[in-house]
C-alpha cells in the first residue's frame, strides 16, 4: 500500500480567478495553463495499519498544524472513495518549487499527493477522475495531471463531477520557454484565496471578467494549434492584466503588484518595441513570468537580469503530466 508520484507545477495563460463553490473548489471560469518542467514535487504515500494518525513530512521534516490538516482532509476524500476510512498514511513530500519564484507549490503538491495516495490505497482512477480528486485539494493543481497545454473545464454540475482538466496539446507540441523572475524583496501580500473571494464578492468588474473568458479561450487554443506565438502571448498578457484589473475595483481595492513588477512589465514591453517577441503573465503575487521562444534566450535573460529589483531568473520548458516512480 505504497506509491510514489511526481507532478510539475503549471502557469496559467488564461487565469483561474473566482470560485462558484468554495468547499468543492469549483471555478467561475475555464482556465488554461502550460505545465512546466522546471518545478516539481515528488510525493510518497504509504497507508499503514499501525498508524493512528496521518504523518506528513515535507522536505524530510514532520509538518503539523494547518498544512498537515489540509493533507489529512484531502486524504479523507481518497479514503472515502476507496471505502478504506480506517487507514492512516505516512506521506513524504519533496518540493522542488522555490516559493521565491512565485509558484504555488500547492499545484504540483496536490497533483502528486492525489496520484500517489490513490494508487497506494488501490483506488482505480483514470486521469480525468484523478483531476477531479486533485481539484478538491487545490483548484489549479487539477491542471498539473496533464503535461503541455491544459484546459480546466469549469463544468456546470453542483457536485463538481464535470469540473476537471483536459489536455489541449502535449509538452512536445511546441518548444516554448517560461522565465520565472525572482524578486529581491518579499512583500506582504493579500492571500490568493482571500483576494479571489473579495474580488468575486465586491468588484463591479468581476462579471465582465467572467464574460470575457470564452473568447480568450477560443482564440488562445487557435494560437496554440497554429503555434502563433504573438497571438498566444498577446491573449495571455491581456488576460492577466484583466484579472489584475478586477482587484483594483474590489472593495477595499487591492493589488498584487510591486514596483519591480511594473519595471519587469515595462522591460518586456520594451523588448517587444525592439522586435523581440516576449509576453508576461502574473499570478496572485508580485512575481512575473515571461514567455518567449528559445532563439531569444540570451537577450531575454540579459534584459530581465538587468531590471533593478530582480534577483534571479529560472527558466522552464513545457513539462510532462503526473507520473509514477
Amino acid at each position: 500500500m505504497k506509491a510514489t508520484a511526481k507532478a510539475h507545477t503549471n502557469i496559467a495563460l488564461i487565469k483561474y480567478w473566482g470560485k462558484r463553490d468554495e468547499p468543492l473548489i469549483l471555478p467561475m471560469n475555464n482556465s488554461l495553463s502550460l505545465t512546466l518542467d522546471g518545478f516539481h514535487t515528488t510525493t510518497s504515500v504509504a497507508f499503514q495499519d499501525r498508524l493512528t494518525a496521518d504523518q506528513f513530512y515535507l522536505n524530510n521534516r514532520l509538518v503539523e498544524g494547518a498544512e498537515s490538516r489540509r493533507v489529512s482532509i484531502f486524504l479523507d476524500l481518497i479514503r472515502k472513495e476507496a471505502g478504506r476510512t480506517d487507514v492512516c498514511a505516512e506521506v513524504h513530500s519533496t518540493n522542488h518549487v522555490p516559493t521565491a519564484a512565485g509558484f504555488a507549490s500547492s499545484a504540483s503538491g496536490f497533483a502528486a499527493l492525489a496520484a500517489a495516495a490513490s494508487k497506494a490505497i488501490g483506488l482505480p482512477v483514470n486521469e480525468q477522475e484523478l483531476s477531479i480528486l486533485t481539484r478538491q485539494g487545490s483548484g489549479s493543481a487539477c491542471r498539473s495531471i496533464y503535461g503541455g497545454f491544459v484546459e480546466w473545464e469549469k463544468g456546470t454540475k453542483a457536485d463538481g463531477s464535470d469540473s476537471h482538466a483536459v489536455p489541449v496539446a502535449p509538452a512536445d507540441h511546441w518548444d516554448l520557454r517560461v522565465a520565472a523572475v525572482v524578486l529581491s524583496s518579499d512583500e506582504k501580500k493579500v492571500l490568493s484565496r482571500e483576494g479571489m473571494k473579495r474580488t468575486v464578492d465586491t468588484s463591479p468588474f468581476y462579471p465582465a471578467w467572467v464574460q470575457s473568458i470564452p473568447d480568450d479561450l477560443e482564440a488562445i487554443k487557435e494560437g496554440i494549434a497554429e503555434k502563433d506565438f504573438e497571438k498566444v502571448g498577446e491573449i495571455a498578457e491581456a488576460n492577466c492584466l484583466r484579472m489584475h484589473a478586477t482587484t483594483l475595483a474590489a472593495n477595499p481595492p487591492f493589488s498584487y503588484w510591486h514596483s519591480t513588477t511594473l519595471s519587469i512589465m515595462q522591460a518586456v514591453r520594451q523588448l517587444r518595441s525592439d522586435g523581440i517577441p516576449a509576453f508576461f503573465t502574473i499570478d496572485a503575487g508580485p512575481n512575473v513570468k515571461v514567455l518567449y521562444t528559445p532563439e531569444h534566450e540570451d537577450i531575454i535573460r540579459n534584459t530581465l537580469q538587468n531590471v533593478p529589483g530582480v534577483h534571479d531568473i529560472k527558466v522552464s520548458r513545457p513539462g510532462q503530466g503526473v507520473s509514477f516512480i
Copy 2:
C-alpha cells in the same frame, strides 16, 4: 476690448473618464474636483480690428501650429456667441503649472481664456454659462470656473447646454493639502484623449465604471459636507484605482503607471498603516497626488521625498475660482 483673467487647475477626486460626445466634449459620467491654489494660468485677451489673424503668446513666446489653432477654434465659439465673427485677438497667456507635476495646463488655461475672451468681447455670461463655454475647450477645465470642491454635471441634452460645473463647497470650507509628486524621469505615455477613447470603445469594464459613479458621488459629497477625511480619501483613492483598472482591460491594454507610481502608492498605504491618514489619486499619467490634512505636513513631505524616483513635492491648498485682474 481687453480683459485679463486668472484660473487655477483642479484635481479630480471622482474622475472624468470617457466622452459621450467628442466634438462637444460631453462626458459619460459626472466628476468631482478640488480647485488648487498652487497652479494657475493668467491670460489676457485683446480683440483688435487691426489684426487679420489670432496671435497666441504662451509664456511670452508666439505659438503656432496645433496649439494655436486650438485657441483660435475656441475663440470662434466666443465670437459666434457674441455675434462678432469679424474680430481677431491677441492672447497672452502665462502658465504657472509645471507639466512635470502631472497637471494638465489645459484646465487652468481654458478657464482663464474663456473668462478673459468673453469679457473682452463684451459677452455677458454668468459662471454657469462660462463653464459651458470652457468645457468646449477642455473638458475638465469647466470645473476650474469655481473654487473649492466642484462637481461637473454630465447633463443629458445633446447640445451640452446642461453639462457644466456646479459648486459643492468653497475653498475655505476645509483646509486640506494636495502634494503633487514630481517624478525624476519622464515616460512615454498614452495621451489622455486617446486612452480615454480606447477605453470607452474597447474595455469590457467600462460600463461598470460608469454605473459605479453615482454611489461614489453621493458618498464623497456627504464626506465633504461632514469634513470626514477618511471617507473622502477612501472614495477618491478607490475611484482612481477603478478608473485605471478600466485601461488594463482595454484592447490593446495599457497603463499610465510607472514603477515609481507603484512605489508612491505603496508609501501612502504604509503611512496609513502607521496611523497617518493620507490617500492618493492619479490622473492619466504616471504622477501621483497625495491628499492629507495640514497637521501631517512634515511626515508626508519626508516620506514622499524619500521614495526612490521622486524628484520633488509641490504642495497646494484649496484654491479660488476664476477671477479678473
